[in-house]
């Protein structure tokens, strides 16, 4: 029997009160973004943000609870943007979006930091009995692609250092049921040649640092065949596929040609459009995808948005959480 799990990729929009309060407390300029040394007022505001974001998930009925990453001003580059060995440069575009982050320039060894662990420790304290924590981090390739290396001087060495850094962050995390590693760059700017193998090793390094189920999810496209074939060597529990913006035929070709892991994650709800999906339709899409992979029975199917949710207004983001929760409760149509 396949278990259907409703969850998200984290990075939620700030509640509207927090947008106002934090912009008053922090300011609007580049130097005002989170750098890991926030004062007590800002910290207190983010604590209330965390409570709100966890309440949103609880009210929607999601099966995994994320911290919500309200502090992640620099999107997936956050873990580097707050690191002591990183200097943040100019504002650069975040993929093909009208969104920006500060260029993290790595200028020294990427030592253990613990910023994400502190967030998840706080989140753990807010969970009720029986609620399952999910951690969310960037995948190593994406974090390396979003950053500028001014220290290691070699792409392979830099990627390995990022992977070791992420692994150390994961080791410091409190107990968690699931870890999502988000790696959009792997499809938007696919690696070439031998880098594919190194990416697979890097993912392995991070995934090995936890006993939790690891879901490795990419979005805004589909994997190139060679990239996917190498990824299959990484010891993760599931790959996640973007069935909104990615080409579904390419996903299914890769999966049926090279196989996939015992679990699968499906990005089925549009994280970048205010049109709210019907839960029944999302449930049918889960049925449809699993039917297209006839050789495999999954232990777990994760139903997720295709992207982070910070692109959406608060009202729509909450509706999308509910859609996911309801979609996995809808009985399977087919036997």
């Amino acid at each position: 029997m396949t278990e259907r799990v409703a969850t998200t990729l984290g990075l939620y929009p700030l509640p509207d009160w927090a947008k106002d309060e934090l912009s008053d407390l922090k300011g609007h300029q580049r130097a005002d973004l989170v750098d890991g040394s926030e004062g007590p007022d800002v910290r207190a505001a983010y604590e209330r943000v965390r409570e709100d974001l966890i309440t949103d998930q609880r009210e929607a009925g999601l099966d995994r609870i994320v911290e919500g990453q309200g502090r992640w001003d620099d999107w997936l580059a956050h873990p580097l943007a707050v690191h002591d060995s990183v200097e943040t440069g100019g504002i650069v575009r975040y993929y093909d979006n009208n969104n920006f982050y500060r260029d993290p320039r790595v200028v020294d060894d990427l030592t253990v930091d613990g910023d994400v662990a502190a967030e998840l420790d706080a989140a753990t304290g807010l969970l009720n009995e029986g609620e399952s924590l999910q951690a969310v981090l960037p995948g190593p390739y994406t974090l390396a692609e979003l950053a500028t290396d001014e220290h290691y001087g070699d792409d392979a060495e830099f990627l390995a250092a990022i992977a070791e850094f992420l692994a150390a962050e994961v080791e410091a995390l409190p107990p968690h049921e699931t870890l999502f590693l988000l790696d959009p760059s792997l499809v938007t700017d696919p690696p070439e040649g031998e880098t594919n193998e190194r990416v697979s090793d890097a993912v392995d390094t991070v995934a090995s640092a936890t006993d939790a189920d690891v879901v490795f999810q990419s979005y805004w496209g589909a994997h190139e065949e060679k990239t996917y074939a190498h990824l299959m060597d990484a010891d993760v529990d599931a790959f996640g596929f973007d069935f909104v913006a990615g080409n579904r035929e390419t996903h299914l070709y890769n999966v049926n040609e090279y196989g996939t892991k015992g679990d699968i994650s499906l990005g089925l709800v549009d994280g970048q459009n205010t049109a709210v999906e019907d839960p029944g339709t999302v449930a049918e899409r889960i049925d449809w995808v699993t039917e297209q992979i006839p050789d495999q029975t999954f232990d777990t199917v994760y139903a997720t948005p295709n992207t982070e949710l910070a692109y959406l207004p608060v009202s729509t983001y909450k509706q999308k959480l509910s859609v996911l929760a309801e979609a996995v409760e809808t009985p399977e149509v087919s036997a």
Binding site: P13, L22, D32, N97, T316
Partner: protein
């Protein structure tokens, strides 16, 4: 094809001193006086007696103030500083049927905008800018330029819940922009600028922007000057394709990047007039006249003086107001000095050497 841009002569002031004429202009937005921001807040306050009529009067006052500030700086063409507009997409989405608003979203850091959703076919209801233009035109002594957010940007910086095809949405919006321009022209407007910053985020869509501009320019008389403003992108991905756009002028942000991209256009074949950004819109330090004169000469690598317009990189609204004024005043002074030096034959025009020799 680029339109015949002979229409720039109508903007030459009668008392213009030089033989050469570098048309001076602005992109549009300008810092709002602090009291206007307070007025915007006050009208939302249920405990205040300040009402919509008071706000309209405040907007009129601010438009008069900034239009006159532009004239005092010596600009040949002026804008009201977009005092009535809140944000470049929101303002239009509020006036076009088919959009709705669901709340603010993050652009970066704590900078947000009320990104609208397109929920049904877009359509034209009331004019968007005719009142704004008529007011500014009535208080201005110089010709008034009207900036309009372009259809490609209006389509791409919104959530599309209805079309499922941003090209179709952009073309529908382009037809509405065309309708608006027709009304503006009837009201006397002679200088329209289409703002398409979204083209920089997805430069491979230049053909869609071209298709939009065909619709926008359809039926617009030759004596009406149509400009296109683009900023903060990799221009090599839209050039030479932009030579095919049916516009009189293309306005480019180039000062911010220290003219690193100027060579992209310096092939002697730049077809429209060039409106060259000569001051940076995101640093409060006011460039000196001498520095701006150097910047203006960068433009002469691309077009000869009779095709060169002088403008800031982008809207100036994020600057302190004194800095915005200082930049504008120095921009005009620099243009006037370069004109005199061109008259005296003291300045080289490199593009004349780069031009193809076939005609």
């Amino acid at each position: 094809m680029a339109r015949d841009a002979q229409n720039r002569e109508q903007f030459r002031p009668e008392d213009h001193e030089s033989e050469h004429f570098l048309l001076t202009s602005v992109v549009g937005s300008y810092p709002k006086p602090t009291w206007l921001n307070r007025a915007d807040d006050l009208v939302e306050d249920p405990e205040s007696s300040f009402d919509e009529a008071d706000l309209e009067e405040a907007h009129d006052d601010a438009c008069r103030l900034i239009t006159e500030e532009h004239e005092r700086s010596g600009l040949d063409t002026v804008v009201d500083g977009e005092m009535r507009r809140n944000e470049m997409v929101e303002f239009f989405a509020e006036r076009i049927d088919g959009y709705e608003f669901n709340g603010p979203i993050k652009v970066w850091g704590h900078n947000y905008f009320d990104k609208p959703s397109v929920v049904e076919e877009v359509s034209y209801d009331e004019p968007w800018l005719v009142d704004e233009f008529e007011f500014t035109d009535s208080v201005a002594e110089r010709p008034v330029k009207v900036p309009i957010t372009g259809p490609y940007t209006l389509a791409n910086w919104a959530f599309d819940e209805h079309y499922g095809d941003s090209e179709a949405l952009a073309y529908d919006l382009a037809d509405l922009v065309n309708e608006e321009i027709e009304k503006l022209v009837e009201a006397g407007a002679r200088y329209i600028q289409i703002d398409e910053p979204a083209l920089a985020t997805t430069p491979d869509d230049h053909a869609i922007v071209g298709g939009c501009l065909e619709r926008i320019a359809d039926g617009v008389p030759e004596d009406v000057r149509i400009g296109l403003h683009v900023c903060y992108g990799d221009y090599s991905r839209i050039y030479p394709e932009l030579n095919e756009f049916p516009v009189d002028e293309v306005d480019l942000e180039l000062c911010n990047g220290d003219y690193e991209q100027i060579e992209t256009f310096a092939d002697g074949e730049f077809a429209p007039d060039l409106a060259l950004g000569v001051v940076d819109a995101h640093t409060a330090e006011v460039e000196s006249v001498a520095e701006i004169k150097e910047n203006i000469q960068q433009g002469l690598k691309v077009v000869p003086p009779e095709k060169l317009t002088i403008s800031p990189d982008c809207g100036l609204k994020l600057l302190p107001r004194e800095a915005a004024y200082g930049k504008t005043e120095n921009l005009v002074e620099a243009a006037r000095e370069v004109e005199a030096e061109l008259d005296a034959g003291e300045i080289d025009v490199p593009v004349r050497d780069a031009a193809p020799a076939d005609d």
